[in-house]
Symmetry: C2
Subunit: 287 residues, 2 copies
């Protein structure tokens, strides 16, 4: 087991299996069979050839595309092709800073291989014994990655709210962090990966995701308390213990391991003099 | 002018012009014409074809290769093909953590397109008015990049000394930093680029370099003093001013701009909510 193994788990897909998903002349996702074949049922919405899957150009605005998607996705969900319907709309832009070309139900984003964006927060405490990190355990009742370890606070980035605004909101909901503490959080970078979700009972897909990373310093006497049912427990752990768990186990949700590794590097715990894979690890954190 | 322009200046080479330089079955550099043509004068040392330039496999150990290089480089220097002879040997490994396959005079490293490794140190002060950075101006008498702005402390990584050891040594020589202060410096990552040096009076070359980055916090009352003649002046500047100079001018030595940008990102001054190029900038810091 190693940090490089964790990085490889987040980035193991075969690009030759995927066809670009084009909307308004721009690539917004990647599709593969067998899910791709289901889209032949909607010839009025998708044009499919060996090069690409293209959304009908007649759908020429955000509203028209989103409405067409809503119809398609409800039919696919009725046929059992979509798992974990969330009732949450996700923006689909060609890149983070461009306006979205459409929105779609969150549960379908990976099926279409559209990248998603999220905020991940390292919660740390300057303890007499050294730096410690607050680690969350995802609710065992959660549909995705139940019971796995997670960063202190993390959440997808919805439409119409700023990144820091989202950090403050998620920190309040997930860990009951007072806004005054959360507001001092520092943006410190971003980590990206391209994760293949295998087909199982439901079709899988591709997640070419970006996680915006934040460091939140918490007072020594602060104790997080989950308010939205998404987290079962919190643990305050010495960095060395988080390092060992990240490196030697798969206890952390796959992408949270990358956020941990980035923290270890930025804080000097993992460096070029104590890990021969250092430069390879560093390059592995951005895809 | 923009951060992306600074990054592009560090990474503007045409790979099709280069042939790999192979030693003992491993690529250690990149060569291009016209300098490559000069190596035809040494058929006992280099095998040249359209695919690659290969060091004679008969030179089968570090010592033999280094000795053969010493002879070649002295002859090239005598013919005026090498500028700025330093009298310093640089290790040439296939990667940072592998043993070097040979060593060569520092002034020839770029000619052979061999990557070099260095340490770059951000010196910062927590001032009442906010974070400030110590910036150095390279000696106007220095052969390379005279008079340009530089990171607080920076130096190439020689054979036989650790990275932190080098940081402490360079900090003492370049800025008279007491070892007790320098020892608290944190390794925080690495930045890489592939810089083409154009041909001029002397042949140019390629620098696929890695800079190991360190943050050194300095006391408010500390004043750096150069002891080795490499730095003319030091300035203590608010981060906003360093950001503007980095973004709007070419005053910083090309690669030091990247170390500054990495600092702005890790410290939250440059973030996804105040620069639309954020993700592109972030990806541009590692090649």
């Amino acid at each position: 087991m190693s940090y490089l193994a964790r990085i490889a788990e987040c980035n193991s897909h075969d690009p030759s299996r995927y066809r670009p998903f084009m909307v308004a002349g721009q690539r917004v996702g990647w599709l593969r069979r067998p899910f791709l074949d289901r889209l032949h049922d909607f010839p009025e919405v998708f044009r499919i050839d060996h090069e690409a899957v293209t959304l009908d150009p007649g759908l020429d605005c955000f509203e028209a595309r989103s409405a067409a998607f809503e119809v398609v996705l409800h039919r696919l969900a009725g046929d059992g092709a979509i798992s974990g319907w969330r009732g949450e709309q996700y923006p689909i832009p060609p890149s983070f800073t461009e306006p979205p070309l459409l929105q779609m139900e969150r549960a379908a984003v990976t099926l279409f291989g559209a990248g998603s964006f999220g905020v991940h927060v390292n919660g740390y405490v300057r303890h007499d014994e050294g730096l410690k990190m607050w680690i969350a355990r995802r609710a065992r009742a959660k549909p995705s990655y139940p019971g796995e370890l997670d960063n202190f606070v993390a959440g997808g980035q919805p439409i119409g709210i700023g990144l820091m605004e989202n950090v403050i909101k998620e920190a309040a909901e997930e860990a009951d962090v007072p806004p005054a503490i959360a507001a001092a959080t520092a943006p410190v970078g971003a980590v990206s990966y391209c994760h293949e979700v295998p087909d199982g009972d439901f079709p899988g897909g591709l997640s070419p995701d970006v996680m915006f990373v934040y460091d939140m310093e918490l007072p020594v006497d602060f104790a997080p308390r989950n308010t939205d049912g998404e987290i079962d427990e919190f643990y305050l752990l010495p960095v060395a213990e988080v390092m060992e768990t990240t490196r030697e186990t798969r206890d952390f949700k796959f992408n949270c391991a990358l956020v941990n590794i980035d923290f270890f590097i930025r804080r000097g715990f993992l460096n070029a003099e104590n890990d021969p894979d250092y430069l390879e690890i560093l390059n592995g954190l951005r895809r």
